[in-house]
Point group: C2
Amino acid sequence: MARKGEDKAYVKELTSKREDFAQWYVDVIRKTDMADYTTLKGCMVIKPYGFALWEGIRQALDQRIRRTGHKNAYFPLFVPESLLKLEADHVKGFAPEVAWVTKGGSEELEEPLAIRPTSEAIICSIYAKWVQSYRDLPILINQWANVVRWEKVTRLFLRTTEFLWQEGHTCHRTQEEAQEETIRMLEVYREFAETELAMPVLYGEKTDSEKFAGAQKTYAIEALMADGKALQAGTSHNLGQHFAKVFQIKFLDEDQKEKYVWQTSWGVSTRLIGGVVMMHGDDYGLALPPRIAPVQVVFVPIYFSDSMEEVIRKVKELGDKLGAYRVELDLRDTQTAGWKFNEWEMKGVPLRIEVGPKDIKKKQVVMVRRDTREKTFVPEERFVETVGEQLEDIQRNLFQRALDFRKDNTSHTDDYGEFKEIIERKRGFIVSGWCGDPLCEAKVKEDTKATIRCLPLEELDATGARCLACGKPAAKRAYFARAY
Amino acid sequence: MARKGEDKAYVKELTSKREDFAQWYVDVIRKTDMADYTTLKGCMVIKPYGFALWEGIRQALDQRIRRTGHKNAYFPLFVPESLLKLEADHVKGFAPEVAWVTKGGSEELEEPLAIRPTSEAIICSIYAKWVQSYRDLPILINQWANVVRWEKVTRLFLRTTEFLWQEGHTCHRTQEEAQEETIRMLEVYREFAETELAMPVLYGEKTDSEKFAGAQKTYAIEALMADGKALQAGTSHNLGQHFAKVFQIKFLDEDQKEKYVWQTSWGVSTRLIGGVVMMHGDDYGLALPPRIAPVQVVFVPIYFSDSMEEVIRKVKELGDKLGAYRVELDLRDTQTAGWKFNEWEMKGVPLRIEVGPKDIKKKQVVMVRRDTREKTFVPEERFVETVGEQLEDIQRNLFQRALDFRKDNTSHTDDYGEFKEIIERKRGFIVSGWCGDPLCEAKVKEDTKATIRCLPLEELDATGARCLACGKPAAKRAYFARAY
């Protein structure tokens, strides 16, 4: 178990990220035991390592959702067809991808039940009973649940028939309050993605063609993946009174008038895991942000038979000192140290600590960062604080690296020819003028597969801007990209 | 907001527990905003207060499941019909209560998909790929999920079409290991129910007629509810090789022979919440065990307009000192103190602290325990430690009260006439001889609606025992009861 073989065959099973990004992505997820396909079309199994990552994400986001005054609840899995049909845009958007229950036990159901593709319809039908008076408002509820969308093309974590998510559903007394809530939760998502996932995001409004089916306005956070495609990582919708009117969610206001509530909904899903993989991973495998990594620090003892006892004792002693972190001691005697290095690198563990007999003699440990693969010798007496510093630095570095990547891969042009060239050659975000006409937006999509990812909340300077597609003066500049 | 009106109209809306237990149960759950029915037959919505209780239960149990070496994962919601049909007993048991998806988007599915009523079939089909060698064993995985069973008669929390639960699914190398695991998890459930839910339980083996469909042996924890009926609160199954053989879960053992794994599965559900309500509640509403109560301590300020500011300041000051507890400060100015007392009693909050201007002068607070409704005056300087003591004492007392109730409501007889009289008059558990013949068991059920709840793990003395139904000498004594 010498400190050798760091470039062993193990990781060579991974496809090169540069050569075949899509295959690299699947390889990483399957070989790190995060998830796998099942015989059920489009359904995946989330294995313990992937699920632990989801639990980390869930916990960090749940805290933020609570701190902003929301409470968790649980609503039924089923949405009767008649309820799903009430809001016209909503059903048009979701009906093509709904799984329908038509039989219960041995009896045919009188009315088919949709398995929730999202819960607006069922929740609004329940809120209609809860809301009577302005004193019942606001309603600020979140749900962690599974949803089903019958997708034709699926990809692990990014697009699966069943996935896990949280969906917030709120009711407000005024339009202003609903808009404030919509932006508040967008901001929660932004801060969460950047702080916890080390994932820099653009945030802004969606155009009508990319809006949630049934929303008045949709806002999103958008992240740039390593292959130059954008990932919509979370959405926050101002539903206006669209659902309130068809579901009759009314309240008696202080002025004794009956009014419809104003609503929002917002969600992020297991798709975030795919985003973390694509944003930070490399040819050695995953690279997980320390704040959400299931294992933050792994100890690998290095010994020969005569030093085994001493080394393992030391590793346990050091591990005990890291009570504040999620630590794994890899004491398996069936694998070489080199094999273990490769495995934990592939699994994206932020910090590896190696301890051998020489290190014990020198009162030091060897730390290897996953992000830079940099090795440092740390005196034992500074070991605990160095772990803390390194983890923080890794978190910061992953974020900065992704931010630099985004900067390097954000282009500016109003020239359609140049735009097409960039999309083919380099991808990334392209900031371009748009006149506001959905036909121009559609033309760009048709020609280049790029869509408007968002109209940023803090509006970009549009002085002299011209629409990419029609060349007319443009009031706005938007972020375009090809997207997942 | 004087300290008056403790017996106001508010709680009078509750049906008396003694007069109509079933209605009392529904009243308590709906009026405390734990849950409610929806327009969907048999489906409930778990409201924030009820869901917070579930989160408390989940967290406390999840810790124990992890400590015994299990990891969480997530498997698909759907079970293809062909997989569900593989294990003959399993499909016979579950097919009548399965919801079937037959349409995805606009296309009819070639094969109907069951929504998981339990996940043995889908998980076993996946484990078959994971297990190759004895080195892959044991597999120790747990899942927190929703399941659906198409029930004809439903009751909030106790029996609903959709419910939430955890289900453990393990694979082992030997029969002995699987049996050890089965009993280990039964013991986890027992300790959890008694420690966290203050719910004394019997634990033992089920007879063949009450076994899980597909199991070799089923064990259960059984609690006695206040109406004298038993509640099966958790089950642990030794699945033998029943599923391994039909799903071909095989491994190459160290001796180079191919063998089938030995399996277990075990689960508890949101049904536990119904158990907590029925076990500890009274005519004033819920009484929640402190360890899982969403709110452990509620402060109710008592003031007139001239003392309002001072009292509220004191309440906030005291509340801040209870950082280790889940605390609510009820500062609403829309309700009287009396109304608040009743509401928090109904919601089962273990400890209420009242603070008024006189209390401030005397440097004391008033504490009222939910379990005994006993009021004590506590010097401010001993307030924090008294909260801790009282909460512990309430937890202990709820358990002891339930244990005493069970003792008082456990009868012993081998005489069938007496048995029938007890079941009609008093109910509770009845310890009686049973010859082991399923026909005798069926006769008792037919005649009295009582079933064998369990054959206790620590066998009861059967000296001189006679079978209740046939009068022949009986090798065992069993616990009988009517059950939910």
